[in-house]
């Protein structure tokens, strides 16, 4: 049994994942405390999604251990009751808000379905909680009867967040959760996520290829390249003072809002 530090809600140690003889993730270790927010950045193919899926229990690590509040996640063959008990430890928000919602299900129903599994709320109390969740993510309660098709990308992502929050998870894994959205909508969702974190003490593992969004969401950064962690630190440390050439290259490749690279003049676009 791996060591558990009291208070940590996520302890991933020496995670490694191979597909055939290709190593997608190599010796990645991450720790999160309640209410913390950690960004995992890196270019496409650096193993971010694979790391996120292992922590979310959707993929089994080849080697390494994952502890969520000291408990090992259920395996792929785990019974429903076991997965259900584990649901409040970690939930995930996916990149594509359209395919991460059931397209035939009204968004209100997708939330009440979860509430039915995880709470004792019945009837109007359940509906009231569903409405509350919709309001919490900035959706109009009248949109409970909408199907994903009739919502915008941002609204769908809000609905997906509300559904995940319905189990009151302690860790939310967000895999490129704003990447598919327009820049102005991205900012709204990031603000929303910050508010939710303040209100609920949920921790975030925020996966992104875009360093530009990181200051808005994360306290700490892990930089991945070719499956390995090449740089890590607090957000300000990494963004302002990192000496790692790969991190610098990533920072310089961010052309837009957020913060400006300090050592070079902004390149005209």
């Amino acid at each position: 049994m791996p060591e558990h530090t009291p208070g940590a809600i996520l302890e991933a140690t020496g995670l490694r994942k191979t597909f055939g003889d290709f190593t997608a993730v190599d010796d990645v270790s991450l720790t999160l405390t309640p209410g913390a927010s950690l960004a995992v950045v890196g270019e496409s193919g650096s193993g971010k999604t694979t790391t996120a899926r292992m922590i979310a229990g959707l993929e089994q690590p080849t080697t390494g251990t994952i502890l969520l509040a000291g408990r090992q996640p259920p395996g792929p063959r785990a019974r429903t009751t076991e997965r259900r008990r584990f649901a409040q430890h970690v939930q995930m928000v996916f990149q594509d808000p359209y395919t991460s919602l059931d397209r035939h299900q009204r968004i209100g129903d997708s939330i009440t379905e979860v509430l039915a599994l995880h709470t004792d709320l019945r009837g109007s109390a359940r509906t009231a909680r569903m409405t509350e969740l919709l309001e919490q993510v900035g959706l109009n309660p009248q949109q409970a009867i909408s199907r994903p098709r009739s919502l915008s990308g941002g609204q769908r992502q809000r609905a997906a967040i509300a559904r995940a929050l319905a189990v009151q998870p302690r860790l939310l894994v967000l895999d490129e959760a704003v990447a598919a959205l327009d820049v102005s909508v991205q900012a709204q969702i990031l603000t929303l996520l910050q508010d939710i974190r303040r209100q609920t003490q949920v921790a975030y593992l925020f996966i992104t290829h875009d360093l530009g969004v990181v200051p808005h969401i994360a306290d700490e950064i892990v930089v991945m390249r070719q499956g390995r962690v090449v740089d890590r630190g607090t957000t300000t440390e990494v963004l302002d003072r990192s000496q790692h050439p790969y991190t610098r290259a990533l920072i310089d490749s961010v052309p837009r809002r957020g913060w400006k690279p300090r050592r070079r003049p902004a390149t005209p676009t």
Binding site: T80, A87, F94, H104, R163, A164, A166
Partner: protein
């Protein structure tokens, strides 16, 4: 045999592809829809609109040509051909409906459960569907009829089995794609049971495809039931049924009275074509494809 034509349809031949281009015409849709609707109404209201009892034998009026009394003439037993066609719509339409609905229900259940559970169960289901797919429906029917006797029930059960692959194989591969979608991972993480994911999430999302497969199989199933009846393995005389009427009328052909076979044959062909055109446009509307 007609069962093979659906196979070709599944693989998508170019000639059918060009035919699908035609389907786009709204006018074709309206005509095909009207033909199907009128035929169904005819089946429902046959007792009200048929001028005669379809089984009323009249030895004095055998092989009558068309007249104001018998619009389409009479057959070898003096029965009114029009009345038999109208009543015949009932068993002719009902039997293939049972076939396609049974195959749709069982095929979808097999396909979704196989795609969900995977492993040996999926391999078993796929193998069974492949075996049935490679087995000509008519031969299957002859074997089953030899064991259990001929009749409509045997024909419907046999054809339901024979049609399983047309639903099952297509729905299984769609279900395999569907279960890869993130919402399924999300539901699993949320602790939703596999059974509930299959019944409340995967199946409703696959339903349009199932309906399209049922609709496109329907015309062929009708043709197969008619063929069964024609060779004596389906509906038994004296029941009025189109396939049986084609068979029954064949004696009249030698006597220079081909009307019964001709009319019944034309009705079958027109209805089957209308069904397939309708199925094709349904496929475009529900699935947005032009396979």
């Amino acid at each position: 045999m007609s069962t093979y034509q659906i196979a070709a349809l599944g693989r998508g031949s170019t000639r059918l592809g060009r035919l699908r281009g035609l389907i786009r015409g709204r006018c074709v849709l309206i005509v095909a829809g009207s033909v199907v609707a009128v035929t169904v109404l005819t089946a429902v209201f046959a007792p009200l609109i048929a001028p005669y009892d379809p089984n009323a034998v009249d030895p004095t009026a055998v092989y009558q040509p068309s007249s104001s009394a018998h619009w389409l003439g009479t057959d070898d037993a003096g029965r009114d051909i029009l009345s038999r066609l109208l009543y015949g719509a009932r068993s002719s339409l009902l039997a293939p409906a049972l076939v396609t609905l049974t195959a749709g229900l069982v095929g979808t259940a097999l396909a979704v459960s196989a795609a969900w559970l995977g492993g040996w169960y999926d391999r078993l289901v796929s193998a069974l569907l492949d075996i049935v797919f490679g087995f000509p429906g008519l031969i299957l029917a002859v074997v089953v009829a030899a064991m259990f006797g001929a009749g409509l029930t045997v024909a419907v059960v046999t054809l339901s089995v024979a049609y399983l692959p047309f639903i099952g194989r297509v729905v299984r591969s769609a279900a395999l794609r569907e279960r890869q979608l993130p919402y399924v991972s999300a539901l699993r993480m949320l602790g939703v049971s596999g059974r509930r994911i299959c019944l409340r999430h995967l199946t409703p999302n696959l339903l349009p495809l199932v309906l399209v497969q049922i609709a496109t199989s329907y015309g062929y199933a009708l043709l197969d039931v008619a063929a069964f009846s024609f060779i004596g393995l389906g509906v038994q005389p004296p029941t009025a049924e189109w396939g049986l009427m084609v068979a029954n009328g064949s004696t009249g052909i030698l006597a220079g009275r081909p009307e019964q076979s001709l009319y019944a044959g034309v009705v079958i062909v027109v209805f089957v074509i209308a069904c397939n055109l309708l199925g094709g446009s349904l496929s475009q509307r529900l699935l947005g494809d032009n396979r």
